[in-house]
């Protein structure tokens, strides 16, 4: 084979717009030595809101990767080097070395790790943690001495794990009517030998005790990407904002019957109505009377920005964690449009396809857990907003009306407020206003 002329090609972190200067690598799709083609996915990066996939600009073979998952990279910095056919865009190694020094110093916070491992066979791998583990497992051994000797029982097998045994041993066990899951394995990794089976059949060894096992595993999970962002924001929010939570119950019997009726009569092109669009409409109305509830508090400059529009954040659980897509200008949407928008935004969020602007700019947030919603919650304010409405589950409860108990659909609203800006009295009035609308749902649709 004739060696073609090969060159080096350096890929820099592309500018992904939005004025973002730094991104976090959350997933690598390539490894050193891989051959990739143009447009193959290189990695996924996280901006402060959305995940973005970075494709390869050229064909080539990966020779160097300059960041690990969890590292932050500046836009424009070198992060992948390829060997490509032809000349490439970099000459020699000189450029790489200088940039390597820059990139391989990511911001890292070391968390003290506790490695507890009962498996003494952890040799060879990672000597540093192994030492740590040994000292701990030694102490574990002393406690386990109280148990019968291993030759009697052998190590219990984790639930659902198949016993390791050769086909011949498996067949002999089947002939003898022995379930290998109860047979002690003396071989490496507790492999069951013919002798182990003999011993078991003769009654020299007892069956491995069934039932629950002690689980000594500790899984180390790096907090990164969206989780890291949520953690930072929550910590900051709870430290800065003095929350108070107010819980009120709302009779949604009429709202539920209206919703059922509308769903029954909706056209095929109209989305199914959940409770959320009604809450949004109720909030729009209530914010008109209490505009301070739809504000941002810039506590550094001590300014409150009160928004005319109602931008309703909808707290949404996704596989990666909590995000808050925003229904913008809900005051200009009818109930169907609200429903459509909620559906579109939450689907996009769950699929990780939300645009950045869809995840910013809310002025008040609704947090609803649907049928699982508990009886009361203490929602955390979506900073820098000043209020959040938590929606609890709807339950049939007996309510004393006129002279009898009547079954009614009762739902609690648990709402938190920033006490620096909002006082208890205002909060109470605001929630009562909202409650009035929700209890007489026709009023949601009447112009004032």
């Amino acid at each position: 084979m004739i060696e073609k002329m090969m060159g080096n090609y350096i890929i820099t972190m592309p500018d992904i717009g939005e004025g973002i200067a730094e991104v976090e690598i959350v997933e690598w799709n390539i490894e050193v030595g891989a051959t990739i083609e143009e447009d193959d996915l290189l990695c996924t990066v996280m901006t402060d809101k959305a995940a973005v996939e970075i494709p390869s600009p050229v064909d080539g073979k990966v020779t160097w990767i300059g960041a690990a998952v969890g590292d932050f990279l500046a836009v424009g910095s070198d992060f992948i080097r390829l060997q490509v056919a032809g000349e490439g865009n970099a000459d020699g190694d000189s450029k790489i070395e200088s940039s390597e020094a820059e990139i391989t110093t990511p911001i890292k916070t070391k968390v003290d790790k506790v490695a507890i491992s009962a498996d003494d066979r952890a040799e060879e791998s990672e000597p540093a943690t192994a030492k740590q583990a040994k000292s701990i497992s030694n102490s574990a051994n002393t406690t386990s001495k109280a148990r019968p000797p291993a030759s009697m029982f052998g190590a219990p097998r984790p639930e659902g794990e198949k016993a390791i045994a050769s086909p011949a041993v498996r067949q002999r066990a089947r002939n003898a009517g022995v379930n290998l899951n109860y047979v002690r394995g003396s071989g490496p990794s507790n492999r069951i030998t013919h002798e182990d089976l003999d011993d078991f059949i003769k009654g020299n060894t007892a069956a491995i005790p069934g039932g629950p096992l002690i689980n000594t595993s500790v899984k180390e999970i790096k907090v990164m990407g969206l989780r890291r962002r949520i953690a930072a924001i929550m910590q900051d929010t709870m430290q800065r904002i003095p929350h108070f939570t107010y819980v009120e119950e709302v009779d949604v019997t009429e709202l539920e019957s209206l919703r059922a009726k509308l769903n029954l009569r909706r056209r095929d092109d109209q989305p199914k109505l959940t409770m959320l669009p009604f809450f949004i409409k109720g909030l729009v109305k209530s914010l008109k009377a209490y505009p301070q509830m739809g504000s941002h508090f810039d506590d550094e400059n001590e300014v409150v920005y009160q928004y005319g529009g109602a931008h309703i954040g909808i707290a949404t659980q996704t596989p990666n964690g909590l995000v808050v897509p925003v229904v913008k200008h809900a005051e200009a949407l009818d109930i169907w449009q609200c429903a459509e928008e909620v559906k579109r935004l939450s689907e996009a969020a769950r699929n990780g396809k939300s645009a950045r602007e869809e995840l910013t700019g809310s002025s008040i947030t609704i947090s609803s857990l649907g049928p699982m919603g508990g009886i009361a919650t203490t929602p955390v304010i979506n900073s820098p907003e000043v209020a959040i409405i938590g929606v609890n589950k709807i339950a049939k409860r007996p309510v004393w009306i006129d002279a009898a108990f009547v079954p009614r659909d009762i739902m609690n609203l648990s709402s938190s407020f920033d006490h620096r800006i909002i006082d208890g009295w205002e909060a109470t009035q605001f929630i009562h206003h909202l409650k009035d609308f929700l209890e007489s749902p026709a009023s949601l649709f009447i112009e004032e």
Partner: protein, 471 residues
């Protein structure tokens, strides 16, 4: 109508059925096997065996061509080798005939009564066979269903003179100048690569965005490279729509990934879009048997929902592989004879006789991680194996890859790609069945020089101590 009764009735004499019948016969059970075609089944008559013969001949031809009018390894031929394809096919048929005769002899030796014809069931234990000597009714105590599978036909592209299945692709009179293949799975690729070696212009039209979706990309990469190097295009994300005829030659019409209609003229269009279990046309619906999607539902002893009716092989699900059918057939015969058996393999090995070959046993690293295992993965290239270089098998990008559990080093899967790699499958499967750990493979002395050294080195590499590789 004549009628007979027997202890065991086997339907279909493929690698599942004939093995079941032979074993049943050996165990002294009064056994009848019914087969409409020749004994041997898809595997022997129109699948594994004839295709491997064709692949062998094609490879030989390609190798000889490499010496024509030029020197290679110091060997040159004065002229291009001449291919008489009808004779190649005749040779392939002779191999099939020999094996077919062998199976017949084995059945007879085991005392199995072979009946030629199509079994049609009227209830779970009774069938009628139209034989050359008239109708015959068979009543059995046990029925083993081994009816196999057939190539799936595309409703919009029916088989015909120019549109063929893998069966016809093994019976052509001449090498087509150009061959369009719908589906880049293992059957399409094996045949397509063979015809490419026989100098046909081959183009694949594949529905998804990759070849051989059952394997990971790392493993299929060397095949992609071979196709690229041999000017064989795979059109991805394309949907075959229809085949029309222009001047007596077929033109395959497909829509490309942008939804635009494209035309692909070829001498033959080969459809290899998978296989379907043969569940129609023999009275299955009268047997009161539960189904599992398109397959017959069975338990881990291959029992169906009907007492003493058993089903094995392609009828009961993926993988549709001859060796799985045989293993199930042998087992069912023993269970009927009163032995305690169950179908509980750790892994069912699979091989693609592509260029280069792929062998896969157990889990890929991706599958292992998806099942929640932390893994150790070791890889060793054939380019660093002396024997591979001496066989010109070191430059196809091939390697052995071992995947093991990180906590106890028990091997979860072994995969390889490379020339002649299929022959390594035995050790791979044995390692998994025996519950081998990385050490077991690493500390087993492997013969030098052989390709199997790569298995040992890959295991050592997973342990972080491969010898024959630079970093």
């Amino acid at each position: 109508m004549k009628s007979i009764s027997c202890k065991v009735l086997v339907v279909g004499a493929g690698p599942g059925g004939y093995v079941a019948a032979i074993r049943a016969g050996q165990l002294g059970l009064d056994t009848v096997i019914v087969e409409a075609d020749r004994v041997g089944g898809t595997c022997l008559i129109r699948g594994c065996i004839p295709s491997k013969a064709l692949i062998h001949a094609a490879t030989r031809y390609e190798e000889l061509c490499a010496h024509a009018n030029k020197e290679k390894l110091g060997i040159s031929l004065g002229s291009k080798p001449e291919l008489k394809f009808t004779k190649t096919i005749a040779w392939k048929d002779s191999v099939v005939d020999k094996l077919n005769g062998g199976v017949e002899a084995l059945l007879e030796k085991a005392g199995v009564h072979i009946i030629e014809g199509w079994a049609n069931f009227s209830d779970a234990k009774t069938c009628t066979v139209e034989t050359a000597d008239g109708a015959l009714s068979i009543k059995a105590e046990h029925v083993i269903l081994a009816n196999g599978s057939s190539a799936t036909e595309l409703p919009n592209i029916p088989y015909g003179k120019n549109v063929i299945s893998s069966t016809e692709a093994l019976q052509l009179d001449e090498v087509p100048e150009s061959l369009a293949i719908i589906g880049a799975g293992y059957i399409g690729l094996e045949l397509g690569i063979a015809y490419r070696k026989l100098a046909a212009k081959v183009t694949f039209v594949e529905g998804i965005d990759r070849i051989l979706p059952l394997y990971d990309k790392e493993i299929t990469r060397p095949i992609e490279m071979w196709l690229k190097k041999h000017d064989t295009q795979v059109i991805f994300q394309a949907r075959a729509q229809s085949v029309t005829e222009v001047n007596g030659k077929p033109v395959l019409i497909y829509t490309d990934k942008n939804g635009e209609e494209q035309q692909l003229p070829a001498d033959k269009v080969l459809v290899t879009v998978g296989r379907r279990p043969n569940t129609l046309g023999w009275g299955l619906e009268k047997m009161c048997i539960d189904m599992n999607g398109p397959f017959i539902k069975v338990d881990d002893q291959n029992r169906t929902a009907m007492k003493n009716v058993w089903a094995i092989g392609d009828l009961v699900g993926e993988p549709m592989l001859a060796h799985k059918a045989s293993a199930q057939g042998e087992m069912v015969a023993e269970i009927i004879a009163g032995h305690r058996r169950a179908f509980d393999p750790v892994a069912i090995p699979a091989v693609c006789f592509t260029e280069p070959e792929i062998v896969g046993v157990g889990l890929t690293p991706g599958e292992a991680q998806a099942q929640g295992y932390e893994t150790l993965v070791g890889k060793f290239p054939f380019a660093a194996i002396g024997k591979a270089l001496t066989m010109e098998a070191g430059s196809d990008g091939g390697f052995v890859r071992v995947t093991a559990r990180k906590d106890n080093q028990v091997i979860l899967g072994i995969h390889a790609v490379g020339a002649h790699a299929a022959e390594l499958s035995g050790e791979f499967a044995l390692a998994l069945e025996m519950g081998a750990r990385l050490d077991d493979l690493a500390h087993t002395i492997h013969v030098h020089p052989t390709l199997s050294e790569a298995t040992m080195e890959a295991s050592m590499s997973a342990l972080g101590k491969a010898i024959h590789i630079g970093i």
